[in-house]
């Protein structure tokens, strides 16, 4: 059964891919493939529909996941960085600091214990925990 779906449904598939595979070496080109669009067209359409570039979405998803790992594990900052698919510890610390307003270590020290929000569904935390993007530097 083939039904015409709004084009946004294909873009959502690409966004879901970022949510699911952020830990891998996932690129915007991979997201474009999931939406069956060329990379240039995909980035334009994604920005039009979701209000931000796919690159920024992927980066803030990785930072949100990193923040969750800082809250809920005792892993080193370097391990957290690698675990969310980022490879440069320096860039990670800079981006994290800009978007969360403190270093990863200071962020970890500032949050209430995990038990305080343990019962909130993980999908709700993930949807609401993505940081607001602070500059356009990572958007190149």
């Amino acid at each position: 059964m083939v039904v015409d779906q709004p084009p946004a449904r294909h873009l959502l598939r690409a966004r879901d891919l970022a949510d699911r595979r952020y830990a891998d070496a996932l690129s915007v080109a991979d997201m474009a493939r999931a939406a069956h669009l060329s990379p240039a067209h995909f980035s334009r359409e994604f920005r039009r529909v979701f209000g931000e570039s796919p690159h920024r979405y992927l980066l803030t998803r990785r930072l949100e996941r990193a923040a969750a790992l800082l809250r809920t594990t005792d892993w080193s900052v370097a391990d957290v960085c690698m675990a969310v698919g980022l490879t440069s510890l320096g860039s990670f610390t800079t981006s994290f600091g800009r978007m969360f307003g403190k270093t990863p270590t200071a962020y970890r020290a500032s949050v209430p214990p995990a038990a305080a929000w343990a019962m909130v569904p993980a999908c709700v935390l993930r949807a609401n925990g993505r940081p607001r993007h602070r500059t356009f530097r990572e958007d190149a």
Binding site: V3, R9, D19, R20, C123
Partner: protein, 141 residues
């Protein structure tokens, strides 16, 4: 006493949604009533074994119920994944996950341990989010 009877999700195409919720998710049809004079189809599905709660698979109406611009917005919001989430529970998340994958459901989240249980997630054809959670039995506090 209040009880939940039905809750509604918007669907892009009712036949397609019906096939997804029954053939792939494994729910049963509760009501499928078409009122031709109104161009309206009341279509509900629900989990086998829980007869008193159903999901309404609601087509996005056109004018005069909804003007074209609003209908287009609702269709787009649904396709963008911002319309609805249905939270399902199960006794065995891993088994339910494997059954649904075998029937062709594409999961956005494979089962993972959470403080409240084991949690997985998928989307229906229209873009609505569904969670599949095996809750931990906490002693009453």
């Amino acid at each position: 006493m209040l009880r939940i009877a039905n809750a509604q999700v918007w669907v892009h195409d009712q036949d397609e949604a019906l096939a997804f919720y029954t053939d792939k998710v494994g729910m049963e049809v509760r009501a499928d009533v078409t009122l031709p004079e109104l161009g309206f189809r009341w279509l509900t599905v629900g989990p086998v074994g829980q007869p008193d709660v159903s999901i309404v698979l609601m087509a996005v109406p056109g004018p005069p119920v909804m003007d074209e611009e609003t209908a287009e917005q609702v269709r787009n919001l649904t396709a963008k994944g911002f319309a609805s989430t249905v939270f399902l529970t199960t006794d065995d998340c891993q088994a339910a996950y494997e059954e649904m994958v075998a029937r062709g459901v594409e999961f956005t989240d494979a089962p993972e341990k959470r403080p409240y249980g084991i949690d997985a997630g998928f989307r229906d054809v229209s873009g609505n989010s569904l969670r599949l959670t095996q809750l931990i039995d906490f002693p009453p506090s």
